[in-house]
Amino acid sequence: MRIFDAVKRANRPGPAEHSITLRVACAGAVVTGIAACRAEGELSWNVAGGSIALVVVGMVLAYRTRERPLPWIKPILALSAVAAFIWFFRQLTGQTLYDVSTVEDPLAVLFVWVQVAHAFDVPARRDLAFSLAGSASLMAVAAAQAIDLTFGFYVVVWLACGLAGLVAMWSSASEGGRLRPRGVIATLSAVVVTGTVVLALLPAPHVAGKIDFPSAAGSGTQLPDPGGLAGDAKVAQLAKAGTPAGATRVGGFLGFSNRLDTALRGGLGATVVMRVRADRPSYWIGETFDRWDGANWSVTPTPHSPQRLNENSPFILPGPAPIAGPTQTDLQTFYIVQPSPNLVFHADDAHEVWFPTHDLFVSDDDSIVSPIGLGPGAIYTVQSYVDTPSPDQLRSAPSADAVPASIDERDTKIPHPYPRAEALAESVTARDGNTYDKVESLIAWIAKHTRYSTDIPPLAPGQDTVDEFLFGNRTGFCEQISTALAVMLRSIGIPAREAVGYVPGPYNPITDLYDVQASDAHAWVQVWFPGYGWQSFDPTAVVPLANPSPGATLVHDATGALKRLPWIPIGIVVTTASVLTVGARWRRRRPRTWADKAARSIEAAGRRAGRRRRPDETLTEYATAIDELAGDPSGTWRALAGVVEASAYGGRHPMPGDDRQILASMRALRDELPRPGVLVGVGGIRRAGALGRRRSSPPTRGTDGNPSTDGDG
């Protein structure tokens, strides 16, 4: 019975909460949570709009009935909560749980439903605290699917509402306590600092369970040529045209298609093309090219390529097991932002793919091709083995004689002899006894003797990219550099091919995603090592920039960073904060009583006359000083001050109507006060007759046509 009594006591409704600020803040937090879920696509517009409206209605009704809650509310709300849970479980039952979004969407609806129901029964402070806590669960559900910084807008608004609600809660609990501006600043600073420290100290999130491997089709459509690449004309360009300072061609980076044209010139923009969550940064390969013709790379067609995987998600990719046995894995989830070619990017040694289709295509070169175009909203997850052999292992790999014939035939072929490139390669690698050292030596030579720049002259018709790069301007970007390395390796009999994909873009510590931009598109080289397979080498990474300019780079980076800031949400927040601050200050300064208003009117009159009130001066003393300034021996202002003080301290308030008259009289008298440096006319100031009553007859003309001299003074 004691436990039962304790439970009963704990559930006894608390005293009615009268603070409107607290209710508005709680409602704001809940509405923000619903809006955040809607922004992440977890709620439909109808559900979100209806829920927001019902929350507002519920909160208003709960406020109105806070002293005497309606007795039939609780049973109805309890039934609705039960119905919500039943609906939730029915949504999940019988569904194949592909990924966490399968659970999160109905979960969001459930949370919203519970919040809406709860909004109708919040008479006491404790109930409002539950609403506030419930809004946190809505934000968590929305945050689980947020992948960019725009979600930060909702976080900021929700935090603001939550903090305001908590402060209002304390204010109510302390019977009117208030925070001084210094306290508000200290509190906000402490919250920001503490949250930042926690963010910095905690390890990055790690996807744990297979339920969390998301995949979604997004806005992609089925392609007419399953297994083919749709990178040429059917998808949007990924790059902008190059700068006018360099010789450019129209177009941009079209590497993700059936051919890679190294003659193309262009600058790639900072458009985010996809966001990637990965256990480690890697080169996310899209495809490889094995046929070189002097200016273009392409893929040698093979009879059984691409292979169709027709097994539903997750797809197990064909390929050898890890060389060293069970090893670490690297899980990558790709969130497509811009229309992309139908290539499934992945780290080396991809093993398993969670993709929102029934089939997938794999080429001989291990490129993974999607049957649908990948548009914004597409999501897929790839699991790769982390199977990087050490340099010593690669040095000990068998010689090139052990290369399979198919690879030897395809990946050592060059379109025509490169005598100069071959001689160069042989001279550079003369002292190296194994493939790995030869590759490293050539990379070191390239780093020493070439420069990186995207602003290079166009290739003349018939000109060879490699000859021009190695023996001409020795300046180029990743395509020229990697092609030169691949050709040099092929010229000395080492199998090499061109790989294209993306390097990790900037890492966002808040979203835990890499924001891969168009300019992160990259080309590098893969070299075949018997026993170890294709190993990636990036010669561009060690090539120094042409004409490096730290200052320009800094400005460029800063400008880029500023451009990436979400100015609209920031502007909205700053504007809202400014408006609220100004409004709060105005509200705090406005006179609360008639006596306040009247006192300020007297002070305004004095200031107008050039006499400010001293802090130690009573209103009557001040009014007497004004009378002296005005040359009014009858003491009009003093009399008015007396009326004001009688109202403030004696409880003798003027009649309704008279109070407005008095204020009007003050304004009129104020206008007649002499300004500093202004001559007072003959007759001085007109007096306000009986207190609060002033004859305000318009000027009249006498029978002689002249203005009447009958005045008030």
Binding site: L163, G176, V207, D212
Partner: protein
């Protein structure tokens, strides 16, 4: 705890003061916050969603500030009593005017009393405006940080200090932190005993001389006339008609006692409860005698030794009995 009769230092005697702040019922808030953060952390970390973790970090910051900041506020809180009455009665409320530098919940400990809130707040209707302060400082009306603290002393005694427990939950109200402070009073507070059952008093004076002389019973306490006001006259004796007529403040003049003063010796036992009962009876007896017009000579024992003096009203009787201490020669209980 008692307000000690006589003058005594309450520090270390009536209440052990704790200047260190300590939380009030921290189990539920701490366990709740820890549970929320751990659950959030597990979900965030294993879901791989950076925003979930980021929002959780912000929430953790809020909870950490909400749990720890009140300790700092309470530690830095300062409270003072700006006005206090000089007299009171045991069992009846005594109001003090207090001020503080931050919003505090104040719980009087010695003497005890109900909780009150003191400090900057938003409600102008409960504040007292300073006289002549209409518009004196712009926006100042309604912002006074003085408020009332009510004491309900259980026993008589003299207080130069009060022991209060101040608590704060600023800024979020998640957890209250408290500390005990000793606050000095602007002047000593004398708490007189309640009115108990008076001693049985004899009737009027009998004339044993014979001769048929009738004593003209002097109606002690009845008005004899009016005279101008003198400082010290009680305001309830002001004669308003005479005042309006004469234009200056006039008071009624009462008949004074003509009989010999009645001597009342009060010997308080060592037992506090018994002493309180004795004091109450003495107070009631004195009040009745004074009401009858008798002059009372009160004999008590104070800290400095026996004290004899005339008491002419309830206030002075209350003060004398508030200061009275146990008589070493008195029996343990009456």
């Amino acid at each position: 705890m008692t307000g000690r009769a006589g003058r005594g230092d309450p520090v270390g005697v009536t209440a052990r003061t704790r200047r260190l702040v300590r939380p009030v019922r921290p189990a539920v808030p701490l366990v709740s916050c820890a549970g929320v953060l751990v659950a959030w952390g597990l979900v965030a970390h294993n879901s791989g969603a950076g925003w979930v973790q980021a929002v959780g970090d912000a929430l953790g910051g809020v909870l950490a500030v909400g749990l720890v900041a009140p300790a700092l506020v309470a530690a830095r809180a300062r409270i003072g009593i700006v006005e206090s009455p000089g007299d009171g009665t045991a069992g009846l409320p005594v109001e003090l005017v207090a001020t503080s530098n931050t919003r505090l919940r104040v719980r009087p400990v010695d003497p005890p009393g109900p909780d009150a809130f003191v400090g900057p707040h938003r409600a102008p209707s409960v504040t007292r405006q300073r006289a002549g302060a209409v518009g004196a400082a712009e926006g100042d009306i309604g912002r006074a940080n003085t408020e009332w603290i009510t004491l309900v002393p259980r026993r008589r005694g003299v207080h130069d200090h009060v022991v209060v427990e101040v608590a704060s939950a600023s800024p979020f109200g998640l957890l209250w932190w408290r500390k005990t402070v000793v606050v000095g009073l602007p002047r000593s507070l004398h708490i007189g005993p309640r009115l108990g059952r008076p001693l049985p008093l004899p009737g009027g004076r009998e004339d044993t001389a014979g001769g048929g002389v009738l004593d003209a019973t002097v109606a002690v306490g009845e008005p004899r006339g009016v005279r101008p006001y003198r400082p010290g006259d009680h305001r309830r004796f002001v004669h308003w008609p005479a005042t309006a007529h004469s234009g200056e403040l006039m008071v009624r003049e009462m008949e004074g006692p003509t009989a010999e003063p009645v001597t009342l010796e009060v010997h308080l036992p060592a037992d506090a409860d018994a002493a309180e009962q004795v004091a109450e009876r003495a107070m009631a007896t004195v009040v009745e005698l004074v009401d009858r017009g008798a002059s009372v000579l009160l004999v008590t024992t104070e800290d400095g030794g026996p004290r004899t003096g005339t008491v002419g009203d309830r206030r002075s009787a209350g003060r004398r009995l508030a200061r009275a201490v146990a008589d070493p020669g008195a029996p343990p209980s009456p």
